[in-house]
Symmetry: D2
Subunit: 149 residues, 4 copies
């Protein structure tokens, strides 16, 4: 098998990583985040804005928008089967979202080296309004499989 | 009264803003965040890492660390009595924190103009270990008092 | 004329802002930056990596990559005819570039309100290799025309 | 010799790294940057704002402020003797600076692991006015000495 094909991440690897990671991801589960699609370097998820996510201005807390996008980055960056942990991220808040709104986040891999990864994630509403944008970085732990023994 | 003294924010103003903001801050309350001190351009708060804050690696979800620091920035930046909303932030994750750990966040004002504000917030453990650092920016809404009328 | 058309920025406005801004932009001129296209909320520019742009590792200094992308943001954000000044930016360095390489930067407007603007800029080589990504924010000075009287 | 002392970076190592790095740092030299002090995880440098550093608004180009702070981070992060390359940075522009002003930048190490480093750098004027703040991240290349064979 040619080397460059061998290095591609298979959907099966992404599926296994997703399962191993999701099982213990109490935070994402507690927020009602639903994983819609996880593939090599990619994740799309949904979340409904609940009352206990609102800040003092009756809009979703910016930190919880960050949590939502960060979860998408976690699944996108761990999809290759090796552990990846976020080291830094930036968030830009474009429009506020209110209780009851259904939000979608989509994380994509911009770049990946042996030890690092760079990801962009957007958060939008059902009708395509841009809520926020995240850019995040991970450190990849070579030789440490996700959910590994 | 000299003009430059008149422009100082009083502790009383910070107290009123804190009350008005906290009353509806369902997100911070749901996470068990406790405000320890809020003053002009300053906020210190505490939070204990709970099981429902852990990610797939059994450490606190980076997004919830962000939420914690962002709450501190919200109280620091609204302390002047006019509404301030976060427009962007950056997080650096230095050390992970585990279930049961008591975390402290401290937000300080770096700079403030009529319409903008810049804040640094750190997250540390009880014994002073650095967990994460945030730098965030707010837009100040001139003429809009916190807690309305 | 319908209000929503009146608010659109014309190419003529972008052209006037470009001229007024470029005339005094000694820094961009000194770096040999060439503006290729400036339109409403958009700028594309080119720069060749010179010897006096190299850092101690014989690759282009990251700060000069930032300068290049920041120039593109300046022309994109001032294209609406009102002054816009950068308040913060983030850079991610993906691949290094060496002496003699021709680089292209492209800045696009992600979001714009009366007083703020959010921009993404990429830097690529001629053959489409991604060198760096910038995300930047401007404060728009209402009532202050670019090159204004 | 105890292990924890052996791991400390000596001033001699910082001096050697500084020399090796500065020799080829054409960009910093071309901008007239002067290194004032380089120690383990630390760098302080000066730069005078020249006419060819001004942008279209007759203030120093934000990208060149970034270059100045990034140079300080480069010397601080390479001071341990192993190569460190910037992977991302964030800049906040607080006050503008004009032609002829003498600026000082100071970079400090916030955190360092085997493969990563986190740095804060400030830029101030002679009388202590805050011009800009940078937070940057490096990847450390284990086993690659600065200026190494």
């Amino acid at each position: 098998m040619p080397a460059d094909i061998a290095q591609e991440t298979s959907q099966a690897t992404a599926d296994r990583a997703r399962e191993a990671l999701w099982r213990h991801d109490h935070a994402s589960q507690a927020l009602g985040i639903r994983l819609i699609e996880v593939g090599p370097g990619y994740c799309r998820a949904e979340m409904v804005v609940r009352r206990d996510m609102l800040n003092g201005f009756a809009i979703i807390h910016g930190g919880l928008l960050t949590t939502f996008a960060d979860t998408a980055m976690a699944f996108a960056s761990n999809s290759h089967g090796e552990m990846a942990v976020a080291t830094s991220l930036g968030m830009d808040f474009v429009t506020s979202a209110r209780e009851g709104e259904l939000l979608t986040t989509e994380a994509r891999e911009i770049s990946r080296t042996r030890r690092t990864g760079l990801y962009d994630a957007t958060i939008t509403t059902g009708d395509g309004k841009l809520i926020a944008m995240m850019r995040g970085r991970v450190q990849r732990l070579v030789g440490k499989p996700v959910g590994g023994i």
